[in-house]
Symmetry: C2
DNA sequence: CAACAAAACTAACGATTGTTAGTTTGATAC
DNA sequence: GTATCAAACTAACAATCGTTAGTTTTGTTG
């Protein structure tokens, strides 16, 4: 059907470089070299370096927002909702691990409008997450440890998947989901 | 004799800026402004921007290495060793949360010698961690989930403490250790 | 007060940055 | 074969980068 547009190729190549050295340390000449062209040629396809970054990040953030909204509005137990969140992160990570590096590490280099938009999505995401955990504690589905620590530790792990997953070979998404749910929710001891 | 040396003040100010925007995006002029002086004046106290980064990161990495060695050589159960590792991360984080941002996000901007040195320390640290978990599984102290997932998820959480801890107000280190051990080892459900 | 060192300053350097303007190339359509 | 258009190119720009050189200010000590 549609093959990948030249712009998307550039964005994908940029995501890989941004993952390795961060947005600020990657020059347009670096990116051009990775694409096998000259820096000026990039501007036939993109408007600015900044546009590349926002394309990567905003798209991913909207994916998470959309996924979280489905989960919040579903009629499931808190535990099942947490399991679905774990699944959401794994799905997104398998699809675009490179881009997640920018989302995690370079979001602060977005400029004004996109920065505010991103920060709102992230805040809403965390609030939704927190509410699910709180409800789970109220319903006695979740041990009443410190709610903030549960939110923080679970989210830390899920956000770091993009670093860990590529180092695992031939790992099946469904097995990964099962194991991750087991470790994050049932614990280690 | 010694208050904080001027160099240490510069390093500390740099750590804060590096945490906010990353090493590459912080200019020597940014750092000078934060110190209330001109950029050229910084060079009366430090040799290069790179020296600032390596001062921040290597010192912290050596702290972790030293702490891990003590734990590895201690005669404790695997669970107790894991608890001590959690304690180590909390202690280091409370002492220097800003510097940990650089260690986590900007280590790849170290140059050759320090980069290799750092990478070796990090590899050894992870190997030690993995061995402790493996031993725990063998001794039936730890549920035999996927060992790699346990190592990854625990380490992800501990490495991200630097972001989370400053947002908590008046949290006691010992209570934090207890809660963190509970969530990471005993689980949530 | 004179002497000295620490730490600030001004001015500038060569290199590199993101980006623009104008031009050439190469494939497809008529 | 010629027109078209996307996509590459060369050349250069103003701005900013880390850093150096040389000078002045500041504070302490005899």
């Amino acid at each position: 059907m549609k093959q990948e547009s030249r712009k998307q190729e550039i964005v994908n190549a940029a995501a890989i470089l941004f993952k390795e050295k961060g947005y600020s340390a990657v020059t347009m000449r670096d990116l051009a070299t990775a694409m096998g062209i000259k820096a000026a040629s990039l501007y036939n396809h993109i408007q600015s370096k900044q546009e590349i970054l926002s394309t990567i990040i905003i798209e991913l953030a909207e994916e998470f927002t959309q996924g979280m909204n489905l989960i919040v509005n579903s009629h499931r137990s808190s535990i099942q909702k947490l399991e679905n969140i774990i699944g959401l992160h794994i799905d997104v990570t398998l699809r675009n691990a490179d881009g997640l590096a920018s989302l995690n590490n370079d979001w602060m280099h977005l400029e004004e409008d996109n920065l505010l938009y991103f920060e709102k999505m992230r805040q809403d995401y965390e609030d939704n997450f927190r509410q699910i955990v709180k409800k789970g504690v109220e319903m006695n589905e979740i041990k009443s440890n410190n709610v903030e620590i549960i939110v923080f530790s679970t989210l830390s792990t899920l956000r770091t998947l993009y670093l860990w997953y590529p180092k695992q070979k031939n790992i099946d998404a469904n097995i990964l989901k099962k194991d991750m749910i087991s470790v994050l929710l049932q614990g280690v001891v």
